[in-house]
């Protein structure tokens, strides 16, 4: 077998081992992180952002939101799916 082909096989093997090692280290780091910092329902803000729309729907209609979304989409050159308007506050 050609020496360079053998070398390429060894390089590949080492590289795959390194990649799996690095990514497995990363997996356990993430798992540790997620365990240490669990997801919590955002308390105060969640309430605000859920309460506000309830009081304001008559003032800001969905049409306006979709109109603005469409314009922003055109403007940014993105599809409307790529972003969304989370909240609109009357000043």
């Amino acid at each position: 077998m050609d020496s360079i082909v053998l070398t390429s096989l060894i390089v590949s093997l080492i590289a795959i081992l390194v990649i799996f090692t690095v990514l497995i280290v990363l997996i356990y780091t993430i798992k540790l992180l997620v365990r240490l910092i669990p997801y919590e329902e955002p308390p105060a803000q969640k309430i605000t952002s859920e309460t506000l729309p309830k009081t304001s729907p008559p003032s800001v209609s969905p049409d306006i939101i979709s109109a603005i979304t469409a314009v922003m989409a055109t403007h940014l050159g993105k599809s409307p799916q790529e972003f969304h308007i989370t909240q609109i506050n009357p000043k």
Binding site: V5, S8, V11, V22, I27
Partner: protein, 400 residues
Amino acid sequence: MELTFGDAATKIIGSTGFSSLTLGDGTMILVACILLYLAIWKKFEPLLLLPIGFGCLLANLPLSMMASTDSGGLLNFFYQGVKYEILPPLVFLGVGALTDFGPLLANPSTLLLGAAAQIGVYTTLVGAVFLGFDLKEASAIGIIGGADGPTSIFIASKLAPHLLAPIAVAAYSYMSLVPLIQPPIMRWLTTAGERKIKMEQLKPISQTVKIIFPVVVTIVCCLMLPGVTPLLGMLMLGNLFRESGVTARLHETTETHLINIVTILLALAVGSSMTADTFLRLETIKIIILGLLAFCMATAGGVIFAKVMSKLSGGKINPLIGSAGVSAVPMAARVSQKVGAEEDPSNFLLMHAMGPNVAGVIGSAVAAGVFISLFGDPTVDSNHAEIATNIISTISSLPK
């Protein structure tokens, strides 16, 4: 010497590009038009292939001084940004700002799929060595299987700058062909039952984890593979702009106008390196064939590894998400979704496939880091270089 007006006009005609137009130039202009056609009418990665094609067109107009090698020319100036490895990391800054690592954090095991898909890189590397390329060239060709444009350009400009043009074109072209290349392989390697597996909903992730993640990835990966820092560091900085919640201004600029400007310069520079003498070679044909191999093997690697994970997890993982490990965000994830929905229209794999999909970006950056560790330019940093030289000499002296 007396000259008539007619003679002078004849001389003017001699200064046109026609007089210097070679068959090679003409062929490359045709190649440029094909790239533009694919970009515009076939929507092959148009944001890259349109300016690459136009750069190729300009570079091959005779006497236009637009080739990457025309010192003093406009595109030669942009090409310095590729040569000195500035533009690809800046593109990655924007990519990081556009990427949501949430699905990956919700299911970190999918990082293994991003690793498994790199098998395409190494089968291609070995294949390229078989076809006569040296190790550095073969590595640069292999990285096409990472399905990641800036990474391919970064590695090619570092390890095999003379192959930059075909490698970049192959990488972006096959990325566009992901919806054609992947489905048959995915169907062939999976059973109908496997394709119907529904995965449980991803658990939500704390914003704090999303903020810490880019910092941790940078520290962990760049400590292990220092060569990957320009790419992975910038990717993670862009993501930190996105997730930190305190740098909205920087995030907005990074994901829109900064990445757009850098993309234009990068693509024109790559296009300007597509001249007849670098592109119209047997090597280009070989690279195109090897690139297809790379994508197929990467897809297969991801799917097969996902099958194994599916078995080990007791059928909780749909193997179709494995193919998304090639990166090509978000197209590869959409392919997983589509092939899954063919079998069971109520099966929504998209978000589950986004995990391996962004893992694929990290995976191919890590693969790039390994190559830089092994073959990186020894002139840049003597300490680094010494180590690299040692490794290479070690490997070359392995028993045959």
